[in-house]
Symmetry: C2
Subunit: 212 residues, 2 copies
């Protein structure tokens, strides 16, 4: 019984090591450069064991990287300042793997687009819950601009090493990013996504859906 | 004499075909997936000829893709709305090659960071020429946020296929993006980068460099 448990534990521990190694390998060089051999080397196991457990590079990528796109509600409904500050500070290996792989691996691009779409939809839902007027035809576009901008800043900061963005700390987020988010927030919502000054009077006049 | 000229013309024509083929190949799969063999196939020439002309994949990348980062003044000094609208509409093969390669090829990442830095510096120079007060310690950060955001929207639109961004046309740029740029423009410049409403009163109080 005990031996059985210990074996299961050992198996789980090895799987966890392989997943962590895969995240590192995909983060280091993106999808195209990652190899089962390289992942096995990082995990300290035989390549045959990696294949036996995960079957293919595609499936290991799905197991190790794609779950990273799961969202909790706090991520989508207005805590943009927190999201931005967290992204500027650090990048998890799974997220880095996704960002490095997305431009060339279709499955990673799909996962990243899905993630951005879900976050944008969450913003739109939050704005609409909050709005008093009719639906705004621009809501989806505004939300897509916000989440894509955070994506771009994350890539520029961590993958390209654009130094100036390292200074986007908590203080700068409040001072600069909050009014910037507010400028993209539909004008008749209550500035849900921002906590800085100028959040209620920024933005152009609202248009109804029929005006398009 | 004529034969000589015709040979030189032929040589130039072949080089142009190889460069165009390299842009397509690097755009299709990024740096890691591109091969001399694949480029030669696209150009309809022998791989040995490609090697003879360019020496290596690295050098061909430098010849075909890196020159795309050259900037003209109009790009840096305030025409953000035009840049954004152009980026949303189409992507040149050279730019696509750079964006797909940057996350995994250090030479492409360096070139892209250099490009973003130059554009950000151009914005800062334009703001300072325009400003009446002292230099703003946040200028570089604000400029980096703007250029990185345009990068993120370009990646999300063209490499990931985030549909909502396809609606960011000229009209939407004036309506939505101009006030958004204005919110990132230092408060005591004259809204150089924006043409929409709300451009002069957006943004937080200015701080001097010594306040940091």
């Amino acid at each position: 019984m005990n031996e059985q448990r210990s074996r299961a534990d050992q198996r789980a521990e090895t799987s966890a090591r392989i997943v962590a190694a895969a995240q590192e390998e995909f983060a280091a060089g993106g999808w195209a450069k990652a190899t089962i051999r390289g992942i096995a080397r990082r995990a300290g196991v035989d390549p045959a064991l990696v294949m036996q457990r995960y079957g293919s590079k595609e499936k290991l990528f799905a197991a190790a990287v794609l779950p990273a796109v799961a969202l909790d509600d706090a991520d989508t409904t207005g805590h943009l300042a927190e999201v931005l500050e967290t992204r500027m500070r650090a990048l998890s290996p799974a997220t880095e793997a996704l960002l490095r792989s997305a431009p060339t691996a279709p499955e990673a691009a799909d996962a990243l687009r899905e993630y951005l779409s879900e976050r944008a939809d969450g913003l739109v839902r939050a704005w609409r819950d909050d709005a008093e007027g009719p639906e705004n035809a621009d809501d989806e576009l505004r939300a897509a601009m916000i989440v894509s901008s955070i994506l771009g800043m994350t890539i520029a900061r961590h993958l390209l090493g654009l130094d100036a963005l390292a200074r986007l700390d908590r203080d700068a987020v409040d001072r600069i990013a909050a009014p910037w988010f507010a400028a993209l927030t539909p004008p008749d919502t209550a500035g849900l996504s921002a906590s800085g000054p100028g959040q209620t009077d920024a933005g152009p006049p609202r248009r109804s859906r029929s005006a398009r």
